[in-house]
């Protein structure tokens, strides 16, 4: 529960420097070994290109999003659960902020790949936690946590031709050249991505440098890649990148409603960090689920962020205060009686001039 944090500095809209390495841990998916390994490898290849360190080609604000790393494991989780994913992330050799895990599940005539995302909260020795949205006012600082830390994304339905391909040990062949004429090896258990372009990647496998292809997992581009990439970007204060990724999650008709709510909240938060209003996004989330206190919190945070801006007219300040009070009053029933965040916001409102 993050009602109060000791650090009160917001990410500047004029640029952001992330001092920490952010890690995504992808264990081998459970299920038939070759299929599950190849699916996880393809997800890895698809997410990795989104880990830009600096905006390109222009970086007028001198942003530095720090290191983003994908840690790959050739073994699946000991148990297919968020609890075990969380534990695995906290292993000293992993120290990950996100875990993408799942299972290739035979169902009917095909295979459905269930995909889960776990965002464990623990002392990972980072200097900054950009994923926690804080608003600092002279009277105090308020913060909200991520919308959810454990959720399931839409399953990936394996096309018959993809199924055949992904069952082959040679699914991720490494070729000598981009035209992929001469195979020189396979991806194996570890590799380093160098360049990603036009659905193929240049990688280094041990001492060998070559090219691999990342075939489509499904007819519909899975939101799993954009959602994971977007959240990774949030952790790294790549607000523009996060906002773009979440926009694609939102526009994907295959995105489950619960994930769409979160995507609106993430996009809104990213826009706020860029000095823009995320209010429209929060209202979209509210329209989808008006019974979530997380959504109400983000709506209120948007108004608190507006209050924190220095150049507001007194009448506008009053409007915002009244809107916050009205929002809380209308949705009181969805908060527990002893909600610390609610108490803090109400106390802060009462102390505003």
């Amino acid at each position: 529960m993050l009602a109060v944090l000791t650090a009160a500095d917001n990410a500047s809209a004029a640029g952001c420097r992330n001092p920490d390495e952010i890690r995504l841990y992808i264990p081998r998916f459970a299920g038939p070994e070759t299929l599950a390994r190849n699916v996880a490898t393809t997800l890895n290849l698809s997410i990795w290109p989104t880990l830009r360190r600096i905006p390109w080609p222009d970086n007028p604000d001198n942003n530095d999003f720090g290191r983003g790393t994908i840690i790959w494991d050739h073994e699946p989780l000991d148990e297919q659960s968020h609890e075990f994913a969380s534990r695995a992330a906290q292993h000293p050799l992993v120290n990950a902020q996100l875990v993408l895990w799942g299972k290739a599940q035979p169902y009917g005539e095909g295979v459905a790949v269930e995909v889960n995302l776990t965002l464990p909260r623990y002392q990972d020795f980072r200097e900054r936690r950009f994923e926690i949205w804080q608003v600092a006012l002279p009277q105090g600082t308020v913060a909200v946590d991520l919308p959810r830390r454990r959720f399931e994304l839409a399953s990936i339905v394996m096309l018959p031709e993809a199924l055949t391909h992904y069952n082959l040990p040679s699914a991720n062949l490494v070729y000598a050249e981009p035209e992929m004429q001469q195979a020189i090896g396979t991806l194996g258990d570890s590799f380093v991505g160098l360049i990603f372009e036009h659905g193929r990647a240049k990688v280094r496998v041990g001492d060998v440098i070559g090219w691999v292809q990342a075939p489509n997992l499904s007819k519909v581009h899975p939101e799993v890649i954009e959602m994971t990439a977007g959240i990774l970007r949030l952790f790294r204060c790549d607000w523009e990148g996060a906002a773009s990724s979440m926009a694609r999650v939102i526009s994907n008709p295959g995105t489950p409603a619960a994930v769409r709510v979160d995507a609106h909240l993430y996009r809104g938060m990213a826009l706020e960090q860029l000095g823009k209003s995320g209010r429209d996004e929060f209202e979209e989330a509210f329209a989808l689920n008006p019974y979530s206190r997380t959504t109400i919190r983000y709506l209120v945070m948007s108004d608190l962020a507006a209050l924190a801006r220095q150049d507001l007219a007194a009448t506008r300040r009053q409007e915002l205060r009244e809107r916050i009070a009205a929002t809380l009053d209308q949705h009181y029933a969805i908060f527990p009686p002893d909600d610390a965040w609610l108490d803090q916001v109400e106390h802060l409102l009462s102390s505003l001039p």
Partner: protein, 225 residues
Amino acid sequence: MLTPFLLGVAGALALASAPAAHADRAEMYLFKYNGVRSEADQQAFDEFTEIVTTKLSRLADEVTQPDQDESPASHLSVILVIDPQTREHLPFRQSNSDLHLYWQRQAALAVLSGRVRKDQGIYSVLSRVYVGDLRGELESSFIEIALPIASEQYDTTRDSHSIVTLYALAMDIVERCGPLHEAIHLFGEAKLRLQDVVAAAPQMEMLHEPIEAGLRRAQQSCGGQ
């Protein structure tokens, strides 16, 4: 978590004369569905059972909000009803009134039974989810979910059973005057997920009004408190 449940007498349900007192209801009892005869039938049913029980075992993680350590779904479990001697997964072959007595005696959240069918080589499953006195504004205590066993229906199959479970959990809170903010949250989650499944499973639309009625009820004070 799957936990084998031991019945009192082989082949029959041991029914007590009075229902057990309970706190919140958190157990869902899963009988073997009818129509499972061959190995292929069994495999289809096993695949269905696997995804439903796995999804329900994770439901708590998905609906527990970041500021909570646990939610009303945290103790949810799916229990296969098996014969204690043969360890065989048992079908339900008794009357609806017996089913209600069973639901009461076990203090169940819901009881799942149904049928597996094969038509022109395609398997489908009909789940009959019995929620007893937690029906609220539903026309019946039975909620029927009929879907093909096909990879394209994977999410709909999981989500439809999740929605029914969330509804029953929320109704249980309302019926026993529990923390109403939790009931509102669970009804809200059920309503949110309903948007995803009605296209593929139109019969789930039957839950729309009962969820709305549950939300209205949960936003009123309970028992004058």
